[in-house]
Amino acid sequence: MEITITINGSDHASDVEPRTLLVDHIRRTVGLTGTHVGCDTTSCGACTVLMDGKPVKACTVLAAQADGTEVTTVEGLKTADGLHPIQSAFTDDHGLQCGFCTPGMMLVGASLIAENADPSDDEVRWAISGNLCRCTGYINIVKAIQTAAARVAESSNGS
């Protein structure tokens, strides 16, 4: 079936099998491999992308369901102005080790701070509770998301 998805600002029209998972479409057809697969049961969140601004787990969304939507993957976080604040905060606060969960974590974090300018420790933990990390113990991920929120708030106050 014919679908068109706007991925990171570019339209991608394709003819897909109805059963094609969004994550496979993004990785194999579109060729953006920053979105990872960790479990295929919606449990780990490594495949998280933003669909019309909301985090979804792309291993349990059909590509067909994403027809007509705007999808943001980790490759779309950086803009002409440079890294997204969530990206630099993950580096600064050592919020990643192996980096496999990181794209999903950053997208959930970016979505959270777009809605909540000053999330508490518990609010961040709840927001990322659908995303597993086996390396960090989450502490620095929580910190990085809060750092990014503070930097966004600071730059918008300053502008």
Partner: protein, 783 residues
């Protein structure tokens, strides 16, 4: 902590340098196994046994083969024609690659489909018909060793029962004597349950064998690419010079990516036969049910103690559940890994350890899940046992430990089982952690809470690890000595490339190993590229597991950098027209003793190494070192956990977790603390929720992340970290390794805390995971 000796812009040891590997990972530009997309790649899917024990009477793959897009269905018979139906394990056993006679566990590999598309390959599995004749499954090692139990390994010559191995160590006579002297014998029987490392990235391979040239390029999620190259050569009979293993970015390993799995062998054979690249990436369920489980030790520990709480001796009987094949990844001469480090942090003269393992109808594995070969089980047992002894003798668990610790002046200390601990100050570590947590006040609060009917528990674990295998006289895997290597090339512009035998899976080698070179030569860490994981481009090594990267590969890095420093001094002397012995090197500046204004930089020297040398010196500034460590290193730590247990539900919550780690010199404190937080989380996971179990039919319970519970950010406690720094005296930079300490040490602290909350009721043991219903049942049985 010692202050860094280099300025921040050089970023030597002790600086929390930001990680170089982050740049690609935060932009989605990492290169993980499944991201590799070679032209004409075929995809493999594996048919696995739904039964735990069954004879295979036949396999009909004709319908699957007829599907459009399917190129081949590989069965055990086909593999057998090439001598590859079975393969050796890392413990000297053999393991089925694809089953030919029987299936021996649920999830065992039976056939593989090679197709043009992964969806088609998976579809085709449904069309393979296997005629199974069910056999009764054996699901516990106790059943397995009963008289008359069905023989699981009937194919194995000379095997007449289900015993996988026996092993004992220590001095039985001296231990019996110690027990005869004791006022009392304290006993603890406990099970360290089967667990799975479950890195977020599953295992996988892209095998690309060129049928014309014979070149085999094998991309693989490998923690040990060089060892895997040699094993591939040995098992598949491929010439080793034609095998190139590339281990790309690895999404966590934790021991899961040490073994060679059947899927790797089948994919490589398929690529060889078809002449196209073959990719296989496990699903999460495949990962959990078939690859590399860990633990599963049934342990009985006995301590001989005096009425004053002095430990005289230790006796341990251990029975391990090995699954269908004995495939522990461990040094050859140790049949139960380094479990004999079970004497822990305590000074007593006698121990005797008796181990045996049994085959069962479960997946094989026995990998060192974030630990140095069974040290986690050992550390857990002794720390639980010492806590139990404290209750029985009637002294405080902290006091019990302080009374029996090896004292700082006793190092190097030889344990009753033959380890020689390098260095430590255990009393300072424990007292520092106790002060931080407010131990005395907590004990008062505990008593007050108890009077109100609330249950507070304080759990301690003081662990000592034995990591960094290891000295060649003692340690090998499959005959390969456990040395490791580093090759350093300094380019004419003063930038450098460091090539390692070890391989990161998220530990940050690209940053920390550059820091070691920066410390020695003064080349900024950011000017040093670290290459690893590609066997064509790095020197030989045994890989990254058992916390061996820093103790062995890090030592090699320091030594090779020092070799280049020596040559550099001679070049500097030439440039400065001074005597070699008058040249001093600090933070990349070579100066003449007594005339600090006469100096050249490492960058000047690097250029001179290719342009302006002293008479008779060979051009270039590069070298390679193979490091054979003189001893293991022995990191340690004192962990204290405070929990509150709900007496009505058995639910427990962590109130505080104070973790003091001493891993010797810290190369990058930020990365060290990151590793500790991750390790504590995995320790918490095992104590609270994470386990693989089976029903009576041998069905694996825990086959996906809905049944196999790993903690999310919501459940994970907060941690308070502390440090002391007693360097390793034999390691070139005094470092000991840290990646596994917290996973080794913390489970006992969490469990001891829960037990401590209910110990006054007489509860002495609750097996991990300490699930609320188990706590509730223990309370219910006690009152």
């Amino acid at each position: 902590m010692a202050a860094p000796t280099t300025p921040a812009e050089i970023g030597g040891i002790g600086h929390s340098v930001q990680r170089k590997e982050d740049a690609r990972l935060i932009e989605g530009q990492g290169n993980f196994l499944d991201d590799i997309d070679l032209p004409d790649t075929l995809h493999m899917a594996i048919l696995r046994s739904p039964l735990a024990h069954a004879r295979i009477n036949g396999i009909d793959s004709s319908a699957a083969t007829a599907i459009d897009g399917v190129l081949a269905v590989v069965t055990g018979d086909l593999m057998d024609q090439h001598g590859l139906a079975w393969m050796p394990t890392l413990s000297g056993d053999t393991q089925a690659v694809l089953a030919t006679d029987k299936v021996r566990y649920q999830g065992q590999e039976v056939a593989a489909v090679i197709a043009t598309d992964p969806y088609i390959a998976t579809d085709a599995l449904e069309h393979i018909v296997v005629d199974y004749e069910e056999l009764p499954p054996i699901t516990t090692p106790q059943q397995s060793l009963e008289e008359g139990a069905a023989l699981i390994r009937d194919e194995k010559e000379g095997q007449t029962d289900n015993l996988a191995y026996t092993w004992e160590t220590g001095d039985q006579g001296a231990t019996e004597e110690a027990f005869a002297q004791a006022d009392r014998v304290v006993t603890l029987e406990t099970h360290y349950p089967r667990s799975h490392p479950a890195p977020l990235e599953t295992c996988g391979i892209v095998a690309d064998v060129n049928s014309v040239t014979g070149q085999a390029t094998i991309y693989m999620t490998s923690q040990a690419p060089h060892a895997h190259r040699t094993l591939f050569a040995m098992v598949a009979g491929l010439p080793e010079q034609n095998i190139r293993i590339v281990s790309p970015d690895i999404g966590g390993g934790f021991g899961n990516k040490v073994p060679i799995y059947p899927g790797y062998v089948v994919a490589t054979a398929a690529s060889l036969l078809i002449g196209q690249p073959v990719k296989w990436v496990e699903s999460r369920t495949e990962n959990l049910i078939s690859t590399g489980f860990a633990r599963d030790y049934y342990m009985k520990g006995e301590l001989a103690v005096t009425d004053e709480g002095r430990i005289l001796g230790l006796r341990v009987d251990m029975l391990s559940d090995q699954g269908a094949f004995y495939s522990d990844a461990q040094p050859t001469q140790f049949r139960a890994g380094l479990f004999h480090v079970v004497t822990g942090s305590y000074d007593f003269p006698a121990a005797h350890i008796n181990c045996k393992g049994a085959f069962t109808n479960k997946a094989p594995g026995g990998v060192a899940y974030r630990c140095s070969f069974r040290i986690t089980e050992a550390s857990y047992l002794i720390e639980r046992l010492v806590q139990t002894a404290a209750y029985e003798v009637g002294i405080d668990p902290a006091e019990m430990r302080l009374k029996n610790f090896i004292q700082p002046e006793q190092f190097p200390y030889e344990t009753a089982t033959g380890f020689v601990y390098d260095s430590g100050d255990y009393p300072t570590a424990l007292r520092t952690a106790m002060n931080e947590v407010g131990y005395e006040d907590l004990r008062r609060e505990q008593a007050e809470a108890r009077a109100e009917g609330r249950l507070i528990g304080i759990g301690i674990a003081h662990f000592t690890e034995a990591v960094g295998a290891g000295p060649s006289r003692t340690y090998d895997i499959a005959g390969l000595k456990m040395i490791d290597s580093a090759e350093l090339r300094v380019h004419p512009t003063g930038k450098a490339i460091l090539k390692l035998g070890v391989k990161t899976q998220g530990q940050g080698h690209e940053t920390t190993f550059a820091q070691i070179v920066a410390e020695v030569l003064g080349i900024p860490a950011n000017d040093i590229k670290v290459e690893h994981g590609d066997t064509d481009h790095t020197p030989y090594g045994l890989g990254t597991y058992a916390s061996r990267s820093t103790p062995v590969g890090g030592a090699a890095t320091a030594v090779v950098a020092r070799k280049l420093a020596e040559k550099s001094k001679k070049i500097a002397a030439h440039l400065l027209e001074a005597a070699d012995e008058d040249i001093e090197l600090a933070s990349g500046v070579f100066s003449v003793a007594g005339s600090p204004d006469r100096s050249v930089t490492i960058q000047d020297v690097a250029l001179a190494a290719y342009t302006n040398l002293p008479e008779g010196m060979e051009y270039g500034l590069e070298d390679v070192t193979y490091y054979d460590p003189p001893n293991l290193t022995y990191p340690y730590g004192s962990y204290i956990v405070v929990v509150e247990v709900d007496p009505d539900t058995g639910v427990w919550e962590v109130q505080r977790m104070v973790a003091l780690d001493d891993c010797g010199v810290r190369i990058n404190p930020m990365i060290v603390e990151g590793q500790i937080c991750g390790g504590l989380t995995e320790g918490f996971a095992m104590s609270a929720m994470q386990w693989i179990t089976f029903d009576d039919d041998g069905n694996c319970i825990g086959a996906n992340f809905m049944d196999y519970l790993v903690p999310t950010a919501w459940e994970t406690p907060r941690f308070e970290l502390l440090a002391t720094e007693v360097p390793s005296p034999h390691h070139p930079i005094g470092a000991k390794g840290v990646g596994e300490s917290a996973t080794v040490g913390s489970p006992a602290a969490f469990v001891n805390a829960v037990i401590d909350a209910v110990a006054h009721l007489g509860v002495r043991n609750i097996d991990m995971p300490v699930l609320p219903d188990r706590v509730w049942a223990a309370i219910d049985a006690a009152v």
